[in-house]
Symmetry: C2
Subunit: 548 residues, 2 copies
């Protein structure tokens, strides 16, 4: 067969025929835009394909198979902190599915939709409101323009009782590397009546294969929606001491396990909360933030060492029962959760307006805006405000269109996320913090940490390395900090739940049977390695040190 550039040229010519010229891009400006990243290792693609429907995706892979050109599918490419819109390796052809924005089916009686990869949180939220669907969407904090399918296929988590998103998928359609189309669950039976209400179908349940995967291109999936609840109570609990958080985890675990707390409870440290309301004070030329500044800023903003937050969903009686249980669980620790409802938030908004542009008024207004964003998110109206932390070290701070147009990659934010999973125990939270904190200090970064109760038994940690991408030295330090953290947490057994592109090769240090099996399945379904080469495909026994 001919050379790589020759094959690519021939494939591009064919793609232009099947997709049309406007849906095949290889101009430098477009390629640059796709290479923009919050990370330091952007992979510049060789072309961008923009199929508009399932049939065109099949056409795309058939041409790719003929010319052996590697494809890299993405939904809307907003995988910030984990690789953005970049392929694992440079020179691949991006298959951007953001034009596939179909809500193919919507069932108000049974509470589900069938959506394509380009459907965003904002779009679905608006759709449900316009059609008066009595359901809420589970939202992530990544804002309205992010793809639901993309996040789900990375096994992302939202915040509501439907926050464990992969568990609310019912039936996928997948295009394989040879163009074969696979319906999972019951969806491959054309007359199936329960295709969107029973995920497992008959025979092997294969849906999980296509998450964190290079095995196929998902072109649609069924997604269950959360019934709107009559009552919704937010709660906040300040934990005054660093060490005090461990007992809180242990006190809340039984409530998460027994179903009293059905949503994803968040536990954030002071810097995480602080970074949601401001960027780094640039009058300080050193980093990380000096201890006394941190303490002063947090005191001024009323931020405790740790903040526990969440929402209680249900009927009025159920929410009252959950409030009672929460108070009972925290009372022995001398902690009292504050419950906040719409009425109180509205009252605070009125007060803020009365206080006007005074310092107290501005402070209260900022809090009300954050509260409003939180309330909206928990009701399925996504908000970009929670991306503020990505801008912490950005020169120029938050852009004028924040939070509406938040886009950390476009805005040249430096952002790396590490997401270790822990047993839901205070001692494990403390162990992760004890491993991470000295590395942050050594490399000069501020440790933003959240730990979320993502299952009934596990905490999902998110550790942020926010850095100034315009500063080469700081960028190099961020890279070193990331790799030190990644390696330290891996060795300690706190494995990530998902990884950025830079760590894909480090996932099979021992050459084990799991990854051998995944490789065998990959060869069976994609023998020429056309789809997403390198994505969750570690080489066997790769050195534990991640590539740097």
């Amino acid at each position: 067969m001919s050379s790589v550039p020759e094959r690519l040229a021939a494939a591009l010519a064919e793609w232009r025929v099947v997709l049309g010229d406007a849906q095949v891009r290889s101009d430098p400006a477009t390629l640059d835009a796709y290479a923009s990243s919050t990370a330091l290792w952007p992979a510049r693609p060789s072309a961008i394909l923009l199929p508009q429907n399932r049939g065109q995706v099949v056409d795309v892979v058939r041409v790719a198979a003929r010319y052996r050109t590697a494809l890299y599918p993405l939904s809307t490419g907003r995988n910030w902190g984990y690789g953005d819109a970049c392929a694992v390796l440079p020179g691949q052809v991006i298959v951007d599915l953001s034009g596939m924005r179909g809500i193919l089916e919507a069932n108000a009686e049974l509470g589900y939709v069938v959506i394509e990869p380009g459907v965003t949180q904002g779009q679905l939220s608006q759709f449900l409101a316009e059609h008066h669907f009595p359901y809420w969407l589970d939202c992530t904090g990544a804002g309205p323009d992010t793809s639901l399918v993309g996040n789900i296929l990375e096994r992302g988590f939202g915040h509501s009782p439907y926050g464990n998103r992969v568990q609310h998928v019912c039936g996928m359609e997948v295009v394989l590397a040879d163009g074969d189309v696979v319906g999972t669950g019951y969806t491959h039976y054309p007359d199936a009546r329960a295709a969107r209400v029973f995920p497992y179908g008959l025979g092997p349940w294969i849906d999980g294969l296509f998450t964190q995967s290079s095995l196929g291109i998902v072109t649609s999936l069924g997604l269950w929606l959360m019934p709107q609840s009559a009552a919704l109570s937010h709660f906040l609990c300040n934990v005054p001491s660093q060490d005090g958080v461990a007992a809180v985890v242990d006190a809340l675990r039984p409530l998460r396990m027994d179903g009293t707390l059905r949503s994803v409870i968040h536990i954030g440290n002071d810097l995480r909360v602080l970074s949601g309301g401001m960027t780094y004070p640039r009058d300080i030329v050193t980093r990380p933030l000096p201890e006394q500044t941190r303490v002063a800023l947090c005191q001024a903003a009323g931020i405790a060492a740790w903040t526990v937050s969440g929402a209680l969903y249900g009927s009025t009686r159920q929410v009252a029962a959950a409030r009672h249980a929460l108070r009972q669980a925290l009372a022995p620790l001398k902690l009292a959760p504050r419950f906040i409802d719409e009425r109180q938030l509205a009252l605070a908004g009125t007060m803020a307006r009365l206080l006007g542009t005074t310092a107290a008024g501005r402070k209260l207004a900022a809090r009300v805006a954050l509260g409003r964003s939180l309330f909206n998110m928990n009701r399925g109206r996504p908000d970009g405000r929670f991306l503020a932390g990505a801008y912490w070290r950005r020169q120029g701070g938050l852009p004028p269109d924040f939070p509406a147009g938040a886009d950390p990659a476009r805005d040249n934010c430096g952002l790396l996320w590490l997401s270790p999973v822990l047993p839901m125990r205070g001692a494990d939270l403390q162990a992760v913090m004890a491993l991470a904190a000295p590395l942050y200090v050594r490399h000069g970064f501020d440790l933003f940490a959240t730990f979320s109760m993502i299952t009934e038994r596990a905490l999902g940690g998110v550790l942020t390395v926010a850095y100034d991408k315009a500063d080469a030295r700081e960028s190099a330090d961020a890279q070193a900090c990331y790799h030190a953290l990644f390696d330290t947490l891996m060795v300690a057994g706190y494995l990530p739940y998902r990884v950025g592109l830079q760590s894909m090769a480090a996932l099979d240090p021992a050459g084990d049977g799991f990854w051998r099996t995944v490789r065998r399945i990959k060869v069976a379904l994609d023998p020429h390695g056309l789809i997403a080469p390198g994505r969750y495909q570690p080489p066997s026994g790769a050195n534990r040190q991640s590539a740097s």
Copy 2:
């Protein structure tokens, strides 16, 4: 290579070396015992292997690979109504894992166990009680001697908030056809701390591949346990008319969807309830039961057209809130659920003892025994009493050791189960009943039906064909009835959630992409087809008519 019998003989000789003589059986009496079945198409195996640990399972498959002998793994072989301990095809070598009874890990803080395939419901229940674990086991009604792993790998359902069992698995160990050992989730990372609290791991989530599958032999899995709840309230609701049940489904759906009803609610018809308390009155020589007899028996026993039952778990306040919601939902239908607690059951027991051997006393005692079994099951203490329906047409009725030693296959019960999945809508329940009822009448059987709220959006139906295996004519009728039902429900789009061995070949009528993909994975993992040939492996485009 040599002939099949020669290869088998050579393999048996090697298995005797690696397992020991006592763990390799091929005497006729043992082979007969394994061929006993509630179905009419038992497959007599050629040998039985009894490995006692994971290493021996690896040895077994390695020998099988060398001699190309087909293996058929089973856990305890109590897959009654769906094929019992039989392989799909005769002449296979059964790998009976019932000797692997290890509870390999038990964590009281995080609420899980790691169990081998031979661990039974009764064994785990006893283990939890003996070790004072504050958790309950989710039970099925199939009695104490059934395997948890076996049921989970068939994607069976229990009754409690943990009734959707496959969703409570966390990490599997699987032996592939070449002896490779695969740990799923995080379990393949030796130091992983969250291996039993976070099921998904890194990279493709492959656990589902090994359910309803021939892709490997599962040798252990992590299972989450349900925290004991402070309050537990059972409820029953009689629905007086056949048609009235549709409105009940529609009224309860919102409560199941919003999490008010967290356990698997059951809806059983009159014959299903009746068959739990008696066998067919043999003084009647015709079948099915004449309408007037059915009405008279149900009236005498106080059985309504449909009985809705379930249990509410939670704190006292949560259960009170759920009771309130349930009452509110049923009030517009003029239905009132009865709530029953331990105190009331104890009171009824006392009354029954006072009434002694009078007719009223015996009737009350029978009800109390059934209630006791139900309460026990919902608290994780399994009971064989719910297998009574399998004995409905058995000559001789219930055996003397019932329910303790209930074993429908050994007792020569005729039992075929069909399990269509429906959207959780009254109209779908009515549609399935309207399709099934005339077929039961035509073939002369009594239609026992239950519909269970197995997910938040789906009903799992179980239709029983109970027949007299000692009567050749009746057995042939049962077979015809089963196939007519199976084909009718498939065509109507009410697909089963699992199938008996006789229907494995009928699952890919159209030759679709899903089953092509499963076949490709099978070839990748088991190229010589050594594990469970025929199990959920339909030939492509098989005639829609199932084999008869």
